[in-house]
Symmetry: C2
Subunit: 252 residues, 2 copies
DNA sequence: CATAAACGTTCGGAAATGTCGAACAGAGTA
DNA sequence: TACTCTGTTCGACATTTCCGAACGTTTATG
């Protein structure tokens, strides 16, 4: 289920460099030995990779260990730019959070996973939501299921071949037939519900965001503890916001 | 003034991979041929690098060209985490923007450059400021000069050896003696002024943010068009905020 | 305080792999 | 139809990366 780098015609050295980056990103701070151990490579090899990243200014030495540098912040902003271009997306997320008084988020599909792009808690204006940038299996979140339901069948097949249906809680859908039934219901209703399928005790309501051409652009959702999330009441709000985004595309 | 990659014991392949990433980040969208041309490498080589990045999910194909993927957004968040840890930094920036009614920003020193980490316009709550993540020569901005003034002399020497004193406008300080004099004045007053040294017609007032140990942690500044930026009046505000951050460190 | 352990660093050699150029296929254009 | 522009694949050479061992330094430990 995981590509073995060099197997696919890729560059194994570049591949390893990316692994080093991931090691540094998945924890805060690592030394040469730690990187070497985690990737099962020689210390001298890890050292060479770290030196490459350091000389280029991509990583930083702090408290004696290496950390990802702010150059990645710049790359992250560049990666997000296509969405920032359409400023109404983020605005709609904040609007949604204000009106629903719970968290609202916009996720984009990428490489068959869902990625948090915008997130808001409403008036609280919580600074820097830590979940932005996080990738999550599409079948385990409301916005993701809403997107999945719009994909053609063969794309869903390919997605499951690549990633499977990993469980995140006891409630996560792990069975293909069950998923198909769920997607069918979502298409009928126009919105998706997540009942603790990603985090215990978190309910969410999501809808797909489509372009005027009918392509899947992303997914919107609101989420919170079950007693604050009334699916019936919120569905219209979320679908309405998704539709408004779709309409905005035409006048941009 | 630019390191020539392989010269320093780094891995030339990994180095090239980073160059490919930078090409994609510095413009929106590039094809195989375009990347190859810009880096002056064979098309097949560029193809191999792009494939490596693609297989790993770091880049995306959209409209027939490659773009940076949202995985960089995740890495960017991870890189920013050390600052998010101290939530009062971002809060102070927003406070500063509210009180001054102009832009406020926090910059961190990294690899001898200044990097925008937080930025706020006050109540407008402008979504996604595009300048976050941007790197800029320290001597050309107020917060950067404020930090420079706190560095020991040999660190300033090393910095200038590496980056020089590039001009961004006609007003940018490009002479070492002039810089030294400016830094001395900054130390005396406790704050720095930027008079169109980075952007024509933009004035800024900045102060260094120190840790309780006296280390330079970053720089705060407010900026706007000259008639809205009164240095005398704003200096206390900025220095006060910088000092409050320093104090917060002790109770965290 | 001395010793040990752990870390980061450097170095050469053998093996693996990245790079190139040419050739192929496909899309778009004249 | 022919042309030009893409992106892609392939093989062969030469360059590189990688490893392991050894070194110098720092941090723990007795």
């Amino acid at each position: 289920m995981r590509e073995d780098a060099a197997t696919g015609g890729g560059l194994s050295t570049g591949d390893r460099l990316l692994s080093v980056i991931e090691v540094l990103g998945s924890q805060d701070g690592a030394g040469v030995t730690e990187v070497a151990d985690q990737l099962e490579i020689a210390k001298s090899t890890a050292h060479a990779h770290l030196r490459t990243l350091y000389d280029r200014g991509y990583i930083v030495k702090r408290d004696g260990t290496y950390h990802l540098g702010l150059r990645f912040l710049q790359l992250g902003q560049a990666a997000k730019q296509p969405w920032d271009e359409y400023s109404f997306i983020e605005e709609k997320v904040e609007e949604l959070a204000d009106e629903s008084e719970i968290r609202a988020q916009f996720l984009a599909p990428e490489h068959d996973e869902a990625v948090y792009v915008y997130r808001s808690t409403g008036r609280h204006s919580v600074p820097t939501d830590s979940r932005v940038g996080v990738r999550i299996p599409m079948h385990s979140v409301a916005a993701g299921k809403a997107m999945l339901a719009q994909f053609p069948g063969d794309r869903v097949d390919a997605l499951i071949d690549r990633h499977g249906l990993p469980a995140r809680t006891d409630e996560t859908i792990t069975d293909r037939a069950e998923l198909d039934a769920a997607l069918e219901r979502i298409r009928e209703r126009g919105y998706a519900i997540n009942e603790g399928e990603s985090w215990e005790g978190v309910r969410a309501v999501g809808a797909p965001v489509l372009t005027p051409d009918g392509d899947v652009f992303g997914g919107l959702s609101v989420s919170g503890s079950p007693h604050r999330v009334d699916p019936e009441g919120l569905a219209d709000l979320v679908m309405g916001a998704a539709n408004e985004i779709k309409l905005e595309f035409q006048y941009e």
